[in-house]
Amino acid sequence: MKYIKFFLVGILFGIVMSKAEIISWYRIYEMFKFQSFHMYGIIGSAVLIGMISMLLFRKKVVKTFEGQEIHVTPKKKGLYRNLLGGILFGLGWALAGACPGPMFVLIGKGVVSILVVIFGATLGAFLYGTYKDKLPH
């Protein structure tokens, strides 16, 4: 039962990704061509409102539904990790026109070929885990 809430939040995520056309390859292309404000507006407004959430968590105004304090785990530091990993991710994002969230939403839309992309992404995660000690971080 405790998992149903995550399923429902996932449904909301899938619907908003679909209805705002974030799962469309074209919306990612036009973003990188600077030909539309759409994606910038979405990410920008999500981040602005997200900052307020983070402030409420940090000031302990909002706790979890079980009353525990919310700590947002800091991201791992490292210029190479973040920059090189980010660049590689960006290359794939612009080619697939989908980041990991939208990939799954596209399964629900019935796009068979996205399964190849998801298989590739899983393989990519496996390759990272296998070779991570040889990479700069």
Binding site: V9, I15, Y29, L91
Partner: protein, 185 residues
């Protein structure tokens, strides 16, 4: 119901995404989709070969359930909430895509030149999909997050690693869009 069946504007979608992030933390978890890729590896037995994947993946079950919900949400939206599959694009975008070999831009959510079954079944088409996926998965785990974990959560939390990652996302995205995509089709 018109406001649901129309495409949703950025100022509707952005706040909803922020709300989703809020809910996941309120429920005691976090917002980050790409970590599921590592969970898949662990479930698939990758821990037998690489210690990195030796984790108790069951503690990430909630995130797999979230992904299952995302799939269901995509199904619900495309079946019942979207009377049209047309994506209204800037005419310049449509022209630019025609120039690089992608026709009928915006007539559906995805270009046939990349995502149709026929394309997937060609060697070149298959490898474009596979390599795109590998770059997303490898890059996201190297950087320690994707659009959700870095661009939304990390930037909201004013984290320098996330700012660097998002700059990286854009460098990679711009190189692909402006320099590599025109050579592919």
């Amino acid at each position: 119901m018109d406001f649901i069946s129309q495409p949703w504007a950025w100022y509707v979608a952005g706040p909803i995404i922020a709300f989703i992030m809020f809910l996941l933390y309120y429920f005691g978890e976090r917002f980050g989709v790409s970590s599921n890729l590592e969970t898949f590896c662990s479930i698939g037995g990758a821990g037998r070969f690489v210690d990195y994947f030796k984790i108790d993946w069951k503690q990430n079950s909630w995130n797999l359930i979230f992904v299952a919900g995302a799939i269901a949400g995509g199904f619900i939206a495309s079946q019942w909430l979207s009377p049209s599959d047309v994506v209204t694009l800037n005419p310049q975008t449509v022209q630019d895509l025609a120039d690089i070999g992608i026709q009928n831009a915006g007539s559906t959510y995805l270009p046939d030149e990349i995502f149709s079954i026929d394309t997937m079944l060609t060697l070149k088409g298959f490898f474009i999909l596979l390599i795109a996926g590998i770059m997303v998965g490898f890059g996201a785990r190297w950087a320690g997050g994707c659009t959700s974990g870095h661009a939304i959560v990390g930037l909201s939390n004013l984290e320098l690693p996330s700012l660097i990652s998002v700059i990286g996302f854009f460098i990679g995205g711009l190189v692909m869009t402006w320099l590599i995509l025109p050579l592919l089709f």
